[in-house]
Amino acid sequence: MKIDINHVAKLANLQLNPQEKEKFEKQLSETLAYVGKLSEIDTKGVETTSQVTGLENVIRVDEIKPSITQEEALSNTSSEHNGMFKVKAILE
């Protein structure tokens, strides 16, 4: 299995230089070849397991509780404007 490194890097929002592309393409293809051994197993009709606790629909009362302040929420950003996060424009 050969991975399309350009496509995957774009989906993952990662920028790679040409050397990195070559290196990761080789390493990821090797790993994919290894995990491909699962195709040896007949899983027809086998249920999927996405969690192991068996817990379902865990709910709690929807009530407001003390939370962090606006100042605290902004304390780790380098991109702040008038008490808000400043992000790049997403529309032209």
């Binding site: 990761f24 699962l38 192991v52």
Partner: protein
Amino acid sequence: MKNLNELTIKEAKAGLKAKEFTSVELTKACLEQIIKHNQRLNAFITIVEKEALEQAAKADLLISSGQDLPLLGIPLALKDLFSTKGIKTTAASNVLRNYIPTYDATVVKKLKAAGAIIIGKTNLDAWAHGSSGENSDFGPTKNPWNIDYVPGGSSSGSAVSVASNMCLAATGTDTGGSIRLPACFNNVVGLKPTYGRVSRYGIVAMASSLDSIGHFTKTVEDSALLFNITAGSDEMDSTTLPAIPEDFTQDLEKSIKGIKIGIPKEFVTKDIDREVKSAFEKSVKVLKDMGAEIIEVSLPYTEYGTAAYYIIQPSEVSSNLARYDGIRYGKGRGSFGDEARRRIMLGTFTLSSGYYDAYYKKAMQVRTLIKKDFDDAFKKIDALISPVCPTIPWKLGEKINDPLKMYLSDVLTVTANIAGIPGLSVPAGFSNNKLPIGIQIMGKQLSEKLLFQIGSAFEKQTNYYKEKPNL
């Protein structure tokens, strides 16, 4: 007479209570050990000397006023994935190099409420991605038994800090072996609890359906003592199991006579190092001589465990690490290291349109089969034992350029995470070149008390845990 930093939690508690020494003295002894050896071993990313000593002084006041809390005045270290209010939490990644959380993880809250002193944050493979400790953006941690060798990962610094007496115990996370493997490589006790038994809230997420929150201690008894505090449900983590009030230290002195212990034949193959195999066989004999009934069992899907794991885990990693956009906190995506980028891309691929069924869905079906293997085995036996890693610790640099080879170091530990069952890694001897070897005891979900019972009996009989590295 032991130095104070060499004490177990149990011993230190007794000494503090009897006023043989103070928490400030105990904390200072640990800090001095860190200052002496951290430059060489690189176990800590952050040391919080001032705050630790302030907390210790407070603990001493409480002790002298007759207060008693389970960890009052005991210095602990935290893997640097655990959010600590006001203390840098880096995940050993450049992305979070300067990140200071505004809240404590639930486990940190519980440890503090029990009176523990936090002395620092330990090194790890960045984002907990790795089996050797070498993937840290803060430099590799070294094995205190021989600094040319890896300490195991990803909770490398926590294991090393306990092995080299820089603290009395340390926390860790285990997604595919990240507690059990470094415990094994450092001659300390490592607990990976049942999935959902300890809250994940406030701990940097790796793969959310696999992450288990545990710890490293010098003895099995200390492991049970700590588990009494960390286990329990948490409304901030909806995957936590309803709490069952239980004292995990209750059966530590109980005989293991008649307990049925299974040896999974697929775990003890020709691919296991000769020295690891011989230590394992000796361990089996010890348990047998103590009255345990040894039964060979089969877990036929074991050989597919690593393949399923290296689909499920990177898929969840790619989703969890998608939140790092460099806007609200941390640096941008250009700051991810190689291993994080590999896993993000691998997971992005296995979840992508056209490949989801062949990879991710298939792996989730195989997860069902692996879990069933364990369920079937536990109908016949009470617990399982196996080696922790197929090899003894390897040299720094040996596997770093071959990711797949590194991934295969987890082959004996990943299936416990896939099935969500607990595992306890305990010291089981040494190689000819004096590097530690361990065994893991696994049980069905929620069977930690039994694992402590078996581990404690084994430890008292063998005494390997008493051996310490020559620093």
